[in-house]
Symmetry: D2
Subunit: 237 residues, 4 copies
């Protein structure tokens, strides 16, 4: 595929996030080019696996939201606090609410979701970001969460740009269009700009190796997370 | 004064908060009956002291908001997370915004507020609640913050019920009417109901002595905080 | 097997820990009676799997130690702080040092251990306890960690009492004797006594359902963790 | 006084700590040249004030120790964890134990110390460092605590070098000799070397303005803390 990040996401250019992505390419490629993603694009992903994954994604979002709540706590300016609080609000009232609606349309209600056990993938990733969020400063936190933010945007744009992606009669068309659409890409752009500002004030480049280690771990946990649906279906855990 | 808490705030009745309040009465009385409050009621509080206090109150609210952000993180149900996130939103976009408008009307802009040094009272109280918020569980956090929530409601209702309170031509009339008004009292009622639910699930009565120790410390820091304006005017710190 | 917990660990009797254990028996049994444990007892566990597990256990201990450091921070008495600090000291200078020596004797040095990637089991369990340690109070923390403390003692005593356990020429004899020996059982007894004291002051019985939910999750993660060696050998993650 | 920091503490030279100190000189001078320090040097400080201050210092050390426990949790290498754990151990078993002995020799026992209310100075400083310790990363934490570590060393050496300092028949001679002695100065040297290493890996110079803001606040709280004894004697708080 002739996907060019510099063309698709020009705003990532010389940013800290761009440098982190470039410095963990094998892990990054395993994440954005995962089997689950290809099956979404082809429309061949079994529905039960997708739904099981969606439930795990919802359970993960609880902890992702908690991590952004810690960003409110850790922010050193009122502007940064407000921005993080807006993300918390958006996750609780937007993204999580949409997940519930989508699952409800498939006959899975909120009570069933909450009763579902988290898989190891979900536990590992959700708690890993919370540990980084508590142990590090606001830049550590934002860098760790950017693996999710930027990766989903890149995946959306990759699928949208790939002639092999099937949109017609693809049950996952909405998913693909959400993450390649201007609303989500605008959020990614805004998030990376904020991260770049933080990098300037918090010595991002001067502590690159430490940030990279945690970013890479988050990327690897993203890759592992694509299997959460399959794991949920296969195991009792 | 013939103020009767059971009549004025019937919802406090047999709650955990009511029991905490009763068990630290000398400290509670020093808080709700502070000289600063009497001078507000009489309209005799010097304006410079009030404004200096209002600036410190604003600086305190930053940390009060951070504490509620930790409540989002600590909450064990989605409903509790959403409720705490709504408070964070309300503090940032409501209460803090109102403070800024009120101070702006007096010629004090946001940049000046943020440049102001916190007094010892502000530092002590703001960081004390954050320490309890991190070190304890969600009940510890909510109990510690309830000294502020319930106390301001009681003060508002006390002043409104007291024939000695001067409303006509009192420059602090708005303040008194805010904290005795149905909107604020409704928030207190709702907050105490949530705290009572938490007390049921988190063993509030069975750990009463520990909760009381922290509640009392918060009450004493509230009492001390009434002097923050005077301290800010008097010292360089 | 005719193992009787009331005889083997009489000090667990009517404690909070005993009640937690009883109320999650299927999960508890899956933990203490895991295939890995049986293979240790029979001496049939492949050495490479044991060593891979031991490395993961070492990586886990880093986070277990961090959780006890949070207990120092969360403790509300100086005595409790000192007790937690002694455990941190013991883990860093005792248990982790022993792991390093044992692995060194097998030709695996400290640099190799630290370079090893954590498996999903290790990441999930290590970060789960840290999240509980930060989000809850000192009782939440101690309850979550007790799944490990008490479980290993019970496993040791179960193996020591079981006629099917092979000690002669069993390469894992040291392991079995460590966890059934008086030194470790003494630590368990002392730890559970401290937890019982905390339960009294922190309303342990009155918040039993919440504590049980987190204890059960820790027990399930302990069971999963027995597979960490096999997972490490099988996967690139 | 002709005190020259470059001669007295050559190891502070071009370090991050040296730069922080230089960039907040008025606040630093108010701290190391405080009235309390001069009265200690002259032997004129009233004994009751000194003892009241010593009790507050003990109450502060509880939170200083908790902050170092958070450093164990936040450390990203095993070596750094062990170093922080050794400081926790030293504080609990050395410094705090010495305080208890010294106060006991004056007829003040441990129970009395713990019953004493913290003054605003103690609450503000103790909780401020804990907030920085939780909200920032390990470098933020170490920088904030270095105001105490380096300042006491400088004060000790200043007093020892000053011909005006009275050692003969000075009841505070032990205090002066402790902080100017090779054991304590060795700890300062070691602590600053560790902080310099952290500064290299964690971008200390690139985030200097943020670190300076927090260092300065800690310095100002140190200066305020010298009044804790006087405040404790004067107020009911």
């Amino acid at each position: 595929m002739s996907f060019d990040i510099a063309v698709a996401m020009p705003f990532i250019g010389n940013t800290l996030c761009g440098a982190l992505r470039e410095n963990c390419e094998p892990d990054w490629d395993a994440y954005v080019g995962h089997r689950f993603v290809s099956e979404l694009a082809a429309g061949t992903l079994p529905k039960p696996e997708f739904l099981a994954w969606m439930i795990q994604d919802y359970l993960y979002l609880v902890h992702y939201t908690r991590a952004y709540a810690l960003l409110v706590y850790k922010s050193t300016t009122l502007d940064a606090m407000s921005s993080a609080a807006a993300i918390v609000h958006g996750l609780l009232n937007g993204e999580m609410s949409l997940h519930r609606q989508m699952l409800a349309a498939e006959g899975i209600n909120a009570a069933q979701i909450v009763r579902t056990s988290e898989t190891l993938e979900t536990l590992a990733y959700g708690r890993y970001i919370l540990d980084r969020a508590q142990a590090g400063d606001e830049l550590d936190l934002v860098v760790t969460l950017s693996a999710c933010l930027a990766g989903y945007g890149e995946i959306g744009l990759r699928l949208a740009a790939d002639p092999a992606t099937k949109l017609h009669a693809n049950p996952y068309r909405d998913w693909i269009e959400t993450y390649s659409g201007p609303a989500y890409i605008g959020l990614v752009k805004q998030g990376l700009a904020r991260m770049e500002d933080l990098s300037q004030t918090h010595g991002g480049r001067a502590r690159f190796p430490l940030l990279l280690a945690h970013f890479r771990q988050a990327v690897r946990l993203e890759a592992a997370f694509w299997n959460a649906g399959r794991t949920a279906l296969a195991t009792e855990f």
